[in-house]
């Protein structure tokens, strides 16, 4: 366990190779072999990804810009590192990434951003909502298996992602797997039992805001991994800002993990979401 929240990226984008790709319930797990980057990205950091071929494909002429993805797991492999990305297909970029087959090339920049502070005060409480489980997995790997993660999903198909975790308590919105509940209910119960914790959470805006409010109420420290539309991922475009107490912060260089105390509202959704 190390205190650093950021491993520096080599300058430029590099070509990685898809080592494996498979469905995991409603998600897709894509493993890239990265021989040009550091072997120790920090949980919560992310990479900018683009398929080396057919990026710019499709009738709609998108995707054009690379897409931000948290690594869900990093394993050393010879000179390189195997990076697992857990994907939810929501548009043309994630669709193309989900089509990648082993052997195909992948442009990679990263690791980027500031990850979780892995020196919790009190017992860590890991919380993932939907695809937000991805960085939580990397965090569990880092913190050690003993730390169970609370994971909320829409349905059993999504909940299959929990199988990647050493220990997890699962709930679903429709009750098709685990308890029928929102993951925030589980968080509340845990905090009721033991408030001396650091909460680590990633998930949709509404969930993050519920977690933030819950923790603020109880003076519990929380580390939240947010999302925002990104064009560059390395601070160049000023496009990925979220409102923080100090003003707008660029999520790609000042986040994506922010301390809940920096925020007054973690539920800043993109327009219309």
């Amino acid at each position: 366990m190390s205190g650093a929240r950021r491993t520096r990226a080599p300058f430029g984008r590099r070509r990685a190779i898809v080592a494996e790709a498979r469905d995991l319930g409603a998600y897709r797990l894509v493993t890239a072999l990265d021989t040009g980057g550091p072997q120790d990205p920090r949980p919560g950091q992310f990479y900018m990804l683009a398929a080396a071929e057919r990026w710019g494909a499709g009738e709609g002429e998108r995707p054009y810009l690379p897409r931000a993805l948290s690594f869900a797991r990093a394993r050393r492999s010879g000179e390189g590192v195997l990076l697992d990305f857990l994907l939810e297909v929501v548009g043309p970029g994630t669709e193309r990434l989900a089509q990648l087959a082993p052997g195909e090339g992948l442009w990679l920049t990263g690791p980027l951003g500031v990850g979780f502070d892995c020196e919790p005060s009190g017992t860590p409480l890991l919380v993932g909502g939907g695809i937000g489980a991805a960085p939580i997995l990397a965090l569990q790997d880092e913190l050690g298996e003993a730390i169970a993660a609370l994971l909320g999903f829409r349905s059993a198909a999504h909940a299959e992602a929990a199988s990647l975790f050493a220990e997890a308590e699962v709930c679903t919105e429709d009750g098709s797997a685990g308890r029928r509940a929102l993951v925030t209910e589980l968080v509340r119960e845990r905090l009721d039992r033991d408030g001396d914790r650091t909460v680590y959470a990633c998930g949709p805006p509404a969930m993050l805001e519920a977690v933030r409010a819950l923790c603020a109420e109880r003076d519990v420290r929380a580390q939240l991994a947010l999302e925002a539309g990104m064009a560059c991922g390395y601070g160049a475009c000023f496009g990925c800002v979220v409102p923080a107490r100090s003003g707008y912060v660029r999520l790609c260089v000042d986040g994506p993990v922010l301390d809940a105390s920096e925020l007054t509202d973690a539920g800043v959704p993109e327009a219309g979401r």
């Binding site: 064009a231 601070g235 160049a236 327009a271 219309g272």
Partner: protein, 307 residues
């Protein structure tokens, strides 16, 4: 791979022809992210700062980005520390870059512009100034760059304030950018740069409401390249001062088109978002192409190919 040949831009020697577009590369943030490797392999031959204003600005409310077919709309809104903050915190760090520094300024009145130009040009770290008369994200940004008279008045007023080269950045959202460019030249500008982003807009597919927090934004990327080439061609035909061409450049091939249109140097903007080293790649490819065409006329040569 062919070596980049040096050029001179307004008397400032550059090791090659490729700049960054203002506001599309934050060298300070990039140094935080990539470390000293950034300086060792710095992708541009001169660095243009993000546009600064007199007062600090937070910029526009998010969302600020929207991807379009072969392009990007942004509504960043010129967030910056303001003149004093820039001089105190940013400038010393930008001075560490291995290439000449161009500082981009925008003023909301001639007085503001005067104060900006005076203060910036006092600093030795600054090689040139760029006057952003064109940013479409700020309500008043249009005024000067869309009108030949306004532009002439502004440049005339600023010209005596500095001995440093003044680059005027034109807005493409104008009826006749060539007339504005000629007016800038007449008033003493040393170079012109274009294009800035085209005004654009996007709607949220779910709600049918404007997507961007600021409602409208500016379009950049390959989608605007043909428009940029036409404007560079028209402007370069009207002026004798060098033109810095930009808009959708992704490769040396694209950059060579801008040189063919009359540009002396080019800038890479949005492509850097896809590839942080794009500037270096474009520079290498462009040098090779120009050499092929026999157009490199030694250092300082402003090769105008074609037409």
């Amino acid at each position: 791979m062919s070596e980049r040949r040096g050029i001179e831009l307004c008397g400032v020697p550059l090791r090659g022809r490729v700049l960054n577009g203002s506001g599309t590369f934050d060298a300070i943030a990039a140094h935080r992210v990539f470390g000293d490797e950034l300086y060792e392999r710095f992708p541009f031959d001169a660095f243009v700062s993000k546009t600064i204003t007199l007062a600090p600005r937070q910029g526009n409310p998010p969302p600020r980005l929207w991807e379009t077919p072969a392009g990007l709309i942004n509504s960043i809104g010129l967030p910056n520390r303001g003149l004093q903050g820039f001089l105190a915190s940013d400038l010393p760090r930008l001075a560490e870059l291995p290439v000449p520094l161009v500082v981009s300024v925008m003023g909301f009145s001639l007085d503001e512009l005067e104060r900006l130009v005076r203060a910036v040009s006092e600093r030795d770290e600054v090689a040139m100034l760029e006057l952003n008369f064109s940013c479409p994200n700020v309500e008043t940004g249009l005024i000067m760059g869309a009108d030949a008279g306004e532009t002439a008045r502004a440049v005339e007023r600023l010209r005596p304030l500095t001995e440093k080269p003044l680059i005027v950045k034109l807005t493409p959202n104008a009826t006749d950018p060539a007339a504005v460019g000629a007016a800038a030249e007449g008033a003493g500008a040393d170079a012109l740069s274009l294009i800035n982003t085209l005004k654009g807009m996007a709607f949220d597919p779910r709600s049918g409401r404007p997507w961007l927090g600021a409602v409208t934004g500016g379009v950049s990327g390959p989608a605007v390249r043909a428009v940029a080439l036409q404007q560079v061609h028209a402007v370069a035909a009207r002026v004798a001062i060098p033109v810095i061409g930009m808009g959708g450049i992704q490769s040396g091939r694209d950059a060579a088109d801008f040189v063919a249109a009359g540009a002396t140097a080019v800038a890479v903007g949005t492509e850097s978002f896809r590839d942080p080293e794009a500037g270096a790649r474009v520079g290498r490819e462009l040098a090779a192409l120009l050499e092929e065409r026999g157009a490199e006329s030694g250092a300082g040569g402003a090769a105008r190919l074609g037409a």
